[in-house]
């Protein structure tokens, strides 16, 4: 149970332009109910940087599928002798779509990464995320009902996973953090389970 991620996290500068971030003071850490002290941080920490390549890989799959599908569609239109104007319009539209997906693949994941933070304190878990639409959710320890760790195939390649925390609530009944280092996610989950049993 060593922690390979914390070192890699340290050198990444936190985005200080985040408007939600500036006003948060550190919480007192006395009488911590959390055993593994290295999970607790006085301030928000970023998720694992391997989130970026994993997201890129996932978007790349989508990009390749879309690009090849549009190629097939365009060729089919050309072969069936569709109207010239229609063909050009379709080509322009699909090219724009592919360009958008290209941007989504290479430029969006780092932006997204810079806007996801989590913090574990003796009070509970806080997650803030969102580039344009920002949200910040705080769940007290005692309200976490159970937690799941899930990993897709691409996430498994990069050894990261998503942690989902369930509460008894209505709208925020499950809150997920994507892109935690797998070992860290497992330890966090165990921590929450231990919390429940304590």
């Amino acid at each position: 149970m060593h922690d390979p991620t914390n070192e890699s996290n340290q050198d990444l500068s936190l985005s200080t332009d985040d408007p939600l971030k500036s006003s948060v003071e550190a919480l007192p850490l006395n009488a911590s109910p959390i055993e593994s002290a290295d999970l607790i941080a006085a301030d928000f920490q970023p998720i694992d940087p391997r989130f970026i390549p994993a997201e890129r890989m996932a978007s790349l799959v989508l990009l390749i599928c879309t690009a090849s599908a549009s190629m097939v569609a365009l060729i089919a239109m050309w072969l069936t002798g569709a109207d010239q104007i229609l063909l050009v319009l379709a080509a322009i539209g699909l090219t724009l779509l592919v360009l958008l997906l290209l941007w989504n693949t290479f430029f969006w994941p780092p932006i997204e990464y810079r806007h996801i933070f989590w913090k574990l304190s003796d009070v509970g878990l806080e997650i803030r995320r969102g580039v344009f639409w920002k949200s910040e959710i705080a769940i007290p320890w005692a309200r976490a009902q159970h937690a799941d760790v899930s990993q897709g195939p691409i996430q498994r390649m990069f050894e990261i996973s998503s942690l989902t925390i369930h509460t008894a609530g209505t709208k925020n009944s499950s809150v997920a953090i994507e892109g935690l280092a797998h070992e860290q996610a497992i330890r966090l989950r165990d921590q929450i389970i231990r919390q429940r049993k304590a």
Binding site: P19, L20, S23, V24, L27, P33, V123, G124, E126, G130, F132, W133, K134, S135, E136, I137, A138, I139, P140, W141, A142, R143, Q145, H146, H166, T167, A168, G169, T170, K171, N172, S173, V175, Q195, R196, A198
Partner: protein, 566 residues
């Protein structure tokens, strides 16, 4: 560890694991009980449930059934087959259901078997059963049976529905369940180590300054004599006289909804059947409408008649639903019973109350009345709302004089001082009014093309009356919304015509969140939301938009810390 004595305040369904997971394995501390002889055997539903099941089946396919029957009466083969398609499976399902549904209490669990091809065995540990609610329609009452809903804290619908059992079966079931429950209480009392320190700290009202020792000694009898648990004496808290119901019905807009339903039904049938009704015979009773004065008088009279009809329908609805309303406290459980034809009795454990909401509309404020709604853990979902949930959640107290609210809230939550005038109310951002006015102007301008589309060039003029109304509404609304952090929890008020004040408690708050849209950031605003269990039925979720961002952030931080018990 699953259900601690009610005198301890750690039995909070919202945070203890025994209620959270419907699939959880039964607790290991469940002790095998001296099960009574009759509870060992499988029991079937009451035979009359065949009829009720069939009625229920037909009800759920009401529209096709009506068309089928109407068409079949004309001898149309298509409609006859349609009717048969709906009828035969209904009968089959009813018969299969009757012969396959069995239940018993065995080894501390209520076991319900059902299904012919896909057998399903549902096991509900008795100590997790929160309510055994009854619904009795007119037919049920004739046959002395009732629909039984077994509710746990989990999920959005009753854990098991037994439709229908005879009243003696219900008595037996209740006795078995509550006997079992009280035995568990004994086990727990002798095992104090099972109380989780963190959670009891988080949920213990003693940590709040407003806490006072409970006034209700009846809990003691639960612990002293478990066998007597089901026969605790009730102390009546509230009885609603007919005059209050009539006033509340008069004040409510319920009649409008009913008129809408009737109109909808009328048009539905009118179109589909393409019948031409001849209303010309009515004209002989009508006065000469070509005279403009007579015409005006007739229109005014019709409007007044319509209004009166609406109010009368509202009164009728209230009386039908809440006739003989009685709220009583038995131990730590509130019991409600009401209904003129369909009699409903529901149980609401005090500790499951998550959220209390006081509503009063314009007319009811003039009459000095309001209603109190609550939200409880479990069983709340607007989709499959049953009569019991309607009464126990949506309409906990349908009408109460405004002067009695303070006392009633003190009863719902012992020790709570309800003094809304003294709370530190936080308004919306000072710029909120301006922002809402801008939205109002935008909406009223957008109305112009819409009016043009429907009524031509003169339709654009809808903007003229809409603009001042919408702007005034926006200004008023921005001033009406306020929230306060108090010693016990969060209080939120809103509304211009219909005033709503809601309160929830720190130990019931599941999550707090702040969201900011790009527009919010431009105005330096944020939305603060407070999530509780099964939010929604009280129709007043705590989601406060257009708050000043700094205020929202510090409020969220403080609510978060308070809800974690510090």
């Amino acid at each position: 560890m699953t259900s601690s004595p009610p005198s301890e305040h750690d039995d909070d369904p919202t945070i203890s694991d025994d209620h959270s997971n419907p699939f959880a394995t039964p607790s290991t501390t469940t002790s095998p009980l001296p099960a009574t002889a009759e509870s060992d055997q499988d029991k079937y539903l009451h035979p009359i449930s065949l009829v009720f099941s069939l009625i229920g089946q037909i009800k759920s396919n009401l529209i096709p059934a009506i068309f089928g029957v109407l068409g079949a009466a004309n001898g149309n083969v298509f409609y006859i087959s349609l009717a048969l398609i709906f009828l035969i499976p209904s009968i089959a399902i009813a018969v299969i259901r009757y012969f396959t549904v069995r239940y018993r209490i065995f080894n501390g669990e209520l076991v319900v078997n059902e299904g012919l091809f896909f057998r399903r065995t549902r096991t509900v540990p008795v100590e997790r059963i929160q309510n055994i609610d009854l619904v009795q329609g007119v037919l049920h009452r004739i046959f002395n049976v009732a629909e039984v809903r077994v509710e746990t804290a989990s999920g959005t619908k009753p854990e098991a529905v037994l439709s229908v059992l005879s009243l003696s079966q219900v008595q037996l079931l209740r006795r078995n369940v509550f006997q079992q429950k009280s035995n568990d209480l004994h086990n727990n009392a002798s095992n104090p180590a099972t109380i989780r320190p963190l959670e009891s700290a988080a949920s213990n009202p003693a940590s709040h300054p407003s806490y006072k020792p409970q006034r209700y000694p009846s809990v003691a009898s639960l612990e002293n004599d478990g066998a007597q648990a089901c026969s605790l004496e009730d102390s009546t808290i509230l009885k609603i006289p007919l005059s209050w119901l009539a006033k509340a019905g008069f004040a409510s807009n319920r009649g409008l909804i009913m008129v809408g339903v009737l109109l909808g039904l009328y048009f539905q049938f009118d179109r589909r059947q393409e019948h031409e009704y001849d209303f010309s015979f009515l004209s002989q009773w009508l006065p000469d409408l070509s005279n403009p004065f007579v015409m005006t008088a007739a229109v005014i009279a019709a409007c007044l008649l319509g209004l009166l009809l609406m109010r009368v329908l509202g009164v009728a609805w209230y009386i039908l639903r809440f006739f003989g309303y009685r709220l009583s406290l038995s131990g730590e459980d509130f019991k409600i019973s009401c209904g003129l034809f369909t009699k409903v009795s529901a149980t609401v454990p005090r500790k499951r109350i998550q959220f209390i909401s006081i509503h009063s509309n314009f007319v009811s404020r003039l009459l000095g009345l309001c209603s109190i709604r609550i939200e409880t853990a479990g069983g709340a979902s607007s989709e499959n709302e049953s009569a019991t949930t309607t009464v126990s959640k949506r309409w906990f107290i349908p009408v109460i004089p405004a002067a009695d609210v303070t006392e009633m809230i003190g009863t719902l939550r012992p020790g709570l001082q309800w003094t809304p005038d003294q709370y530190d109310w936080q308004p919306l951002s000072p710029k909120a009014g301006r922002r809402m006015v801008r939205i109002a102007i935008l909406v009223s301008l957008l109305l112009a093309p819409l009016g043009y589309y429907f009524f031509g060039i003169w339709g654009c003029s809808v903007t003229l009356p809409a603009l001042p109304i919408l702007v005034a509404y926006a200004v008023k609304k921005s001033r009406a919304v306020k929230f306060a952090r108090t010693a016990f929890g969060v209080v939120y008020r809103s509304g211009i015509l219909t005033h709503k004040i809601s309160l929830t408690f720190y130990e019931k708050i599941q999550a707090t969140s702040i969201t900011q849209t790009p527009f919010d950031r431009r105005w330096a605003m944020a939305t603060l939301s407070v999530d509780t269990v099964a939010a929604g039925p009280a129709d007043h979720e705590i989601e406060i938009k257009y708050l000043d961002a700094e205020l929202a952030r510090s409020a969220q931080r403080q609510i978060f810390q308070a809800s974690a018990g510090r």
